[in-house]
């Protein structure tokens, strides 16, 4: 096996944990309970998938009646590539620059491009899996609805394989270039975070730009008529800011046996190869320059005794000490900071931007309409949900134990009670959730000009529910902490606990919303409903905190590292 192939195989094995899963299932015979759970999860997705396929079928029929059925392909390709561009940026930064195995790989007789290729392969495979449930159904529905043409079924998988290459290599070039530029001096973490924020802003700008380009509401009736009259009208309108989506549509629809299909394929694959080649060439020149600095020592400073003395702490309560540890570790690990603190601060702003930029009749516009509804009860409920989602979506609580990773042994040997350790983690997660709520309140009050009564009432409801969800999410992570990771990204963004907790949270919020509506319909005044729900929330929060503290007493001793 060539070194490149061996490296890619090892990287994929390490990322997906095939060897460790096999070992746990068949040698250690642990985690077998996960098999039916995963199967149940897959089965649980089927009804949603069926609904989605039906919806796609209806969209195809509607477009077909206008002679614009090709637009379904353009939409699928564009959505897939946008998804890859936005999520890919974070994956690429984390995988290219923050994997712990990089310092071992640098020492091996490998070219920078070989290392980067192995990392790129990991991200690429992840992207195939991420976009599969969204994009594959659209491509398959189109194939079945189009009747006949077996050539389509040969081209379709090829298109799916090529689909992430253009956005991912483009993002990769930006990431490699940016990391080389910012990775200088002592403030490199700060520069990495600033650079990542610039990338997020660029991704958002692109997202809004493309979604506006894909929108048709700016067109007048005559333009719409002429667009429908042309067989490629809708395709051109949707894909005008991103031509690869038009090329993919053309070769998928026309096939490779036609001049237009072949030329479109040549353009699509040519651009993919060009960008991939560019990334590899860039890697050869820039990758190590950006990488080596990450583990460089920033130079020893000579300090006098006096300067050192002021650093000594005179002692503080263990809960405060653990809280400070959590704050420092989160704020100083760029991936945790970006996903956690900056995430909760930015989510309300991004949601506000999405809501206010959306057109009449879309889901986002409906949410905004409900939030500013003339019915105070509806407005308060939607605003409360907005605050809770902004506070708890970051995954800070549901990765709290996982983030300790291999250092978890310290938590096991220090003479601090497990309840106290959980209290410190609860305080830290709550502090970050409060940042999210604060940001949400600022957006609601300043951007949407919601009245003080509305957001204060929502705040009274959201705070206890957020405390409840924080305890719930801590319990999820405590039940099965992911402690063996090499990239911090795995502890937070790729941690199954975060997803499981999110599902629990959404389920709870659904029930909470139902309870609120039911109480509202029972004839009670709005003030009474808010009072009852707030009291209920406080009760739940206290109960959940007590239970997670009790659970810690039982669970901590059995976590073995």
């Amino acid at each position: 096996m060539s070194p490149t192939a061996a490296l890619i195989k090892a990287a994929l094995n390490s990322n997906f944990g095939w060897s460790i899963v096999r070992h746990r299932l068949f040698v250690q015979k642990r985690d077998r309970w996960m098999v039916p759970l995963v199967a149940l999860g897959v089965v649980g997705v089927v009804p949603t998938l069926v609904l989605y396929v039906r919806l796609l079928g209806d969209v195809f029929d509607m477009l077909n009646s206008l002679g614009q059925e090709k637009a379904l392909l353009t939409l699928a390709v564009l959505a897939g590539q946008l998804m890859i561009l936005v999520f890919g940026l974070f994956y690429l930064i984390a995988t290219f620059y923050f994997s712990r195995d990089l310092e071992y790989l640098i020492a091996l007789p490998l070219k920078p491009s070989q290392i980067l290729l192995s990392k790129f392969a990991v991200v690429l495979i992840n992207e195939y899996l991420t976009m599969a449930p969204f994009i594959l159904p659209a491509l398959i529905v189109y194939g079945f609805k189009r009747h006949g043409d077996p050539g389509y079924w040969l081209i379709m998988p090829l298109t799916y394989i090529l689909l992430p290459v253009i956005p991912l290599t483009a993002a990769g070039l930006v990431v490699v270039g940016m990391m080389r530029l910012v990775n200088v001096g002592r403030k490199k973490d700060l520069l990495i975070i600033s650079g990542s924020l610039v990338l997020i802003a660029a991704a958002l700008f692109l997202q809004f730009g493309l979604s506006r380009a894909a929108g048709t509401s700016d067109l007048d009736t005559q333009q719409i008529m002429s667009m429908i009259a042309s067989p490629d009208g809708l395709v051109q309108t949707i894909g005008r800011r991103f031509p690869p989506a038009i090329w993919a549509t053309r070769f998928l629809h026309d096939g490779l046996m036609t001049a237009s299909g072949l030329s479109a394929f040549a353009l699509f694959s040519g651009l993919s190869i060009l960008l991939f080649g560019g990334l590899m060439a860039g890697a050869q020149r820039l990758f190590f320059g950006g990488l080596v600095g990450l583990s460089e020592r920033s130079g020893v400073r000579v300090r006098g005794g006096k300067a050192l003395a002021i650093k000594f702490s005179s002692g503080c309560h263990p809960v405060r000490a653990i809280f400070l540890r959590e704050v420092r570790l989160m704020n100083r690990t760029p991936i945790f900071l970006l996903n956690g603190v900056l995430g909760v601060l930015l989510i309300p702003i991004v949601l506000a931007l999405t809501l206010s930029s959306s057109k009449q009749g879309t889901d986002s516009a409906d949410i905004l309409r409900l939030m500013t509804s003339a019915k105070p009860a509806t407005g308060i409920l939607v605003t409360t949900m907005f605050m809770i989602v902004c506070a708890t979506l970051s995954g800070v609580a549901s990765s709290s134990f996982s983030r300790e990773g291999r250092k978890f042994w310290i938590s096991k040997v220090i003479p601090v009670g497990y309840r106290q350790q959980v209290s410190a983690k609860f305080l830290h997660s709550s502090a970050i959730a409060l940042l999210g709520i604060g940001s949400a309140v600022a957006v609601l009050a300043l951007r949407f000009h919601l009245g003080a009564w509305q957001w204060l009432s929502s705040l009274a409801l959201a705070l206890p529910v957020t405390a409840f969800i924080t305890s719930l999410n801590l319990a999820v992570d405590l039940a099965r902490p992911l402690l063996d990771w090499i990239s911090p990204q795995k502890a937070m963004k790729q941690n199954l606990n975060v997803l499981i907790a999110m599902l629990f949270d959404l389920g709870f919020l659904f029930l909470y919303g139902l309870a609120f509506v039911a109480l509202g319909k029972s004839g009670l005044s709005l003030g009474a409903v808010i009072g009852i729900m707030a009291t209920f929330g406080v009760g739940l929060a206290c109960l959940a905190f007590t239970l997670v503290s009790q659970f810690a007493l039982r669970r901590y001793p059995s976590i073995e590292t």
Binding site: K29, R301, F312, G315, P557, E560
Partner: protein
């Protein structure tokens, strides 16, 4: 001070017996060396003593207290140094020391004196305000040792503490170990360096395939072995498969 009573631990649902019915007692004032080939069960035993792993059977007592039932009190009188210096890389050295001082309840004055002493001894004073991620393996080992020595516990549990240390630091550590036990403390440590064990330890145990192969003073171990030339020869003889 440390009593290990019929302790067993297995992995893979009993398929691998890492520690098998181990019984040992380490009295106060004793440096106890724990030797064994790779995979013999040394680290598993040590992790059970400090509470990272839970024994499947048997009990471990620290100063007469069950380390399962009275975990907090046992931890408060024990300091542990692991074989791999896995600590919070994003904290500065001084922040890690302050954290350990806070959780062990070391007072401000004592903390300052002890930290300054050991930082100077280990030549870490200039690096202590830098993030741990910039430290070498040996420096990380030293910062963990500094934290353990700052706590000044009754019981030291060290897993291969000399690995990565330069000769001067290694010498200082050995002196500190002796001083600790002369003051009535207990020290349990594992090592692969036979000369260190032979010179430093009051008693030595050799563990092989999870079971105790021998335990006693150097003189007692010599009596049990055919080849009495050195601890290395005794070790090789006892751990032959």
């Amino acid at each position: 001070m440390i009593e290990i009573d019929h302790v067993s631990k297995s992995y893979n649902k009993g398929a691998v017996r890492a520690v098998d019915d181990l019984t040992l007692t380490v009295p106060p004032g004793e440096i106890f060396g724990f030797l064994g080939p790779n995979g013999a069960g040394k680290t598993t035993t040590i992790k059970m003593i400090v509470g990272i792993l839970k024994p499947d059977a048997g009990t471990i007592r620290i100063a007469g207290l069950d380390n399962g039932a009275e975990a907090l009190r046992c931890k408060a009188m024990t300091a542990y140094v692991p074989d791999e210096p896995e600590i919070y890389e994003r904290l500065k050295g001084i922040e890690y020391l302050n954290f350990m001082g806070d959780v062990y309840g070391v007072s401000g004055g004592e903390r300052r004196n002890r930290i300054e002493h050991w930082l100077q001894a280990f030549e870490l004073s200039r690096a202590v305000a830098d993030p741990i991620q910039t430290y070498s393996h040996g420096m990380r080992q030293k910062i963990i040792l500094t934290a353990a020595l700052m706590v000044k516990p009754k019981v030291f549990v060290l897993d291969e503490p000399m690995v990565g240390l330069d000769p001067r630091s290694s010498h200082l550590l050995k002196e500190a170990m002796r001083e600790h036990c002369d003051g009535g403390g207990t020290l349990f440590f594992s090592t692969h360096i036979m000369e260190v064990a032979e010179r430093l330890c009051d008693r030595i145990a050799i563990i092989h395939k999870g079971r105790l192969a021998a335990c006693g003073t150097m003189a007692e171990l010599r009596d049990q072995a055919k080849d009495k030339a050195s601890l290395e020869n005794i070790f090789l003889e006892l751990t032959e498969t």
